[in-house]
Symmetry: C2
Subunit: 549 residues, 2 copies
């Protein structure tokens, strides 16, 4: 019954409290040896100094991640005001670390030095990534960064209210201001990055070296292919019965099932070496780094599928984060190459494995046991068809595997017009509704279920959306490459062996970390340029069975 | 199914992720407005600037607290290496913040300025506390601080091994080095603080303005009084039956009981405004600040008392932390005055209330219901006697209310001899064992159950122990004062009303924050100087009933 105090006058005791855990002691030791002694200045090369600074940035980022996770999962409700202060301070400290002029000096020194060529490819990549990050963080005028942060707060607040009131006219002036600020940033970043357009400069922040021209081509083919699949499903000979999907499954049962799913994909949450855990949040997410990567899900009694597939989706993200090369920890390369690649891994596990007949051939009998008699009168094939239902909808986050990308394509097409200033913010609702009619055949009744459904634009994240659909496209190509090398992967899954497949993913995708930009990485993994054929082929094959076409 | 990434290249997205929660947005906003804009430099007075800097220190400390809490309660085991790095970095950042030369400049400016006298008493106290903290953080040579941190790591590591091997000779050289380093620090701090001895300088860090001379006098009286009570209990007419205390109570039952106890003391863990929560750890602790203060406990099936009283103990700490004046948040005064006062509040709730007949008169019938039939054949008085059993033991953390302080007095007497260099580290085991024989009548078989039982000395925390027993002494005086003003408090507790008592504690103790040093505060609350009579009177009265003397 000792007492740990973190309040003001006891800050000085931190050293004492740290010492409860032997591993922490080790940390304190390295802190003492490396940081306080300024040994950092006696390291041999500028490259080593740069990596030492990177390590600090990464560690601070991961600490902030824990604070975020706690806010979403464990924080007592009253703590929210204090938490906002903590996150603001950590964000400020992170900004200071990553814009430290010494980083710029070190980068210049390394880049211009005659020894640059003697650096390994890995070292050069680290330098490249740090340069990119440093420029993105420092080239925007402080006034613009400040105004954007302020406008972000205002726009999101107003967005929430406007969404509640179903009134776009409330949101419009704030979105206009936000767009103007992001356009200013995009103009500057275009110069810095040398991209072909301001929009490309924004896209590059989320999906490096990807650009609107490439995406336009890819998405046009994707759209046509998806509309065709959708049409075929509609006309297919099979009528799906999904009624049993709403059967009540108690939360405790769903928790047990989640643990089994985690175990299946090798996401360890219970051994003494476990590096993961599962908690509950309204919106499932994954957070963490290497040895501590956590996922969340939600449990709805009458919607078992929701927890099943969010566990598999987030689990796919998690095993990607857990399997970067160990020796790259704290280095820029020890990270995912892009949001699109991250999404490819989550959707691979969720859809390509998790919604396959083979997986359920193995897992459905288990599910039947774990749920008592709830699904005893449901046939395996009916179940697999039900979880693969295609149903055009208005809300992106509720969309199925086929129509999901259409939601994204609509957003991309609109963003492109907006950034090119061929339309303005006032035109958004009409254009949105028209495209939803054209591509998905649904009628948007009000802007809350239309253009105001996502937080992204309010927060200034233009250029973010395309990464979601690119994830599907990458996934298709990765699947095809894997099928060449592991032709019997479906048999393995049927036997309950995910390990073989995972090993392939780890070696070919995860362990590449951020060594290559997405266009290079996809070619290295698959031998082909980015293209939609494998994804469309996969969908056609799967859904011809599901819907009988 | 959005994805939150905290890894390297996505650090720049932090702003986006922050925006999920409207309150965080608020934080980002204030960050944008206050910090990035360097508005801090345009604040009017040096005092305001100083408080702005303090706020950062406090917020960083509370964020570190969450990271600690997570490590003890939720962290996947594999995450421990990364965690040590995070804590080391945060500790380093905290050190940088609190030793920033600008704080020294601001302090000097304020202290020497002719306007100093125009500051309010509260403002002067803030300046005083910051000066004290700043001096403690900056006056020690960096080399000494580094060596101490390093030695702390080593000494604790060796202490663990030596304790396992029951071999003091292994630990001795490391403890000697640690003592030497702390003695050097104490010599310097004695000059800085102007204390009468090096030991006093260390004590003052944990229990401000307390000194060995005062403690010697107090502890001598306390020791004699306690030995007497112990003796009377031994000779008392009542033979206690404690056999039923080992009855198995399932963990789920204990969890329910814990929630009821939390509710009883007004530690809110379930309302939408809750500022607390209960989790499980091997060693119970309290952590947090104002609106987010969390406690932990442990559940042993065959030891219900352990969870009962750790909930009440930690709950006592927690309600103290939750009830500082709201307007003092982020200021030095918005904090406890000392470790001893903190302990007084936890022991007040645990022992003076939680082990009273009145409390169990109210709660025992509830406990009987909550535990099914487990305690249905136990009489109330037998139960109350059993939870108040006095039994001299070798291990401090297992000691009862009467003998606990004797464990502390032994440590204090030894520390005093050591710091005065009348004995050396090699003399510790013999002296320890002799005092345990003399004061508690127990025979120490080996040094692991003797001088090596606590982590404190290994970590360099000399001067910390006395605060535990001072907490009991303060508690006795506070109880006496409260009884004068709330003569019917025992009736209230019998009725299940803790609120009246809590209100008194909040007004008279909690809301005083760190406005006064302990010797002043105890006099303001009770009208009397520090003295052991009330505590001894309270013990004699209670135990005369328990043991029939």
């Amino acid at each position: 019954m000792e007492f740990v105090i973190y309040s003001f006058v006891q800050l000085l005791l931190a050293g004492f409290e740290n010492t409860r855990n032997p591993y922490i002691v080790e940390g304190v030791y390295s802190f003492a040896a490396i940081n306080m002694g300024k040994v950092i200045d006696t390291l041999k090369s500028p490259y080593e100094k740069l990596l030492a600074k990177t390590k600090e940035m990464v560690i601070l980022g991961t600490a902030t991640g824990i604070i975020h996770w706690d806010m979403e999962t464990k924080m007592p409700p009253k703590g929210v005001g204090l938490r906002s202060q903590q996150l603001a301070l950590l964000s400020q400290m992170s900004h200071r670390l990553s814009t430290d002029p010494e980083i710029g000096d070190l980068l210049s020194k390394i880049e211009k030095h005659t020894d640059y060529e003697s650096l390994s490819a890995l070292q050069k990549r680290n330098v490249y990534l740090l340069r990119k990050h440093y420029d993105e963080q420092t080239k925007l005028p402080e006034k613009l960064v400040k105004e954007t942060a302020k406008q972000e707060a205002i726009a999101i607040d107003v967005w929430k209210k406007a969404k509640g009131a179903k009134d776009f006219s409330m949101f419009k002036p704030e979105l206009e201001k936000m767009f103007k600020l992001r356009k200013q940033a995009a103009d500057i970043l275009m110069e810095v990055k040398g991209t072909a357009s301001p929009y490309d400069a924004l896209i590059d922040m989320y999906e490096p070296k990807m650009d609107a021209r490439t995406i336009t081509k890819i998405f046009a083919e994707l759209r046509d292919g998806l509309v065709l699949v959708m049409e075929k499903c509609r006309r297919g000979s099979k009528r799906l019965d999904t009624s049993f999907m709403n059967r009540k499954v108690p939360v405790e049962m769903q928790e047990k099932i989640s643990k089994e799913l985690a175990e299946f994909i090798g996401y360890d949450i219970k051994s003494p070496q476990a590096g993961g855990r599962i908690d509950e949040t309204e919106h499932p997410f994954t957070g963490g780094y290497y040895d501590d990567v956590r996922i969340t899900t939600h449990y709805y009694e009458n919607n078992l599928a929701s927890s099943l597939f969010s566990i598999l989706h987030e689990g796919g993200h998690a095993i990607y984060e857990q399997n970067f090369k160990e020796s790259w920890m704290y280095q820029p390369v020890g990270s995912s190459t892009s949001l699109g690649f991250h999404e490819s891994q989550s959707r691979f596990v969720e859809n390509m494995v998790g919604r396959s007949r083979e997986f359920w051939n193995y897992f459905f009998p288990k599910l039947q046991v774990l749920t008592g008699g709830i699904f005893s009168n449901v046939a395996l094939d009916d179940f697999v068809r039900a979880i693969n239902q295609v149903k055009p909808s208005k809300i992106r986050v509720e969309a199925d595997e086929v129509t999901y990308s259409l939601h994204i394509i609509i957003r991309f097409e609109i963003e492109q017009e907006l950034l090119a200033e061929r339309i303005t913010v006032k035109d958004l609702p009409e254009l949105w509704n028209q495209k939803y009619k054209d591509y998905l055949g649904v009628t948007i009744e009000n802007d809350s279920e239309g253009v105001m459904q996502d937080i992204h634009w309010a927060s200034g994240a233009f250029g973010y959306f395309p990464t979601y659909a690119l994830g599907n496209v990458y996934g298709g190509q990765i699947l095809e490459a894997m099928e060449r090398e592991l032709p019997n992967w479906r048999d393995k899954i049927t036997e309950g062996n995910f390990q073989t497949l995972k090993k392939w993913l780890v070696e070919n995708v995860h362990q590449q970390g951020d060594l290559y930009d997405p266009p290079v990485l996809i070619k290295r993994i698959t031998g082909e340029e980015l293209n939609v054929n494998p994804f469309l082929k996969y969908l056609n094959k799967k859904y011809s069975w599901v819907y009988g076409f």
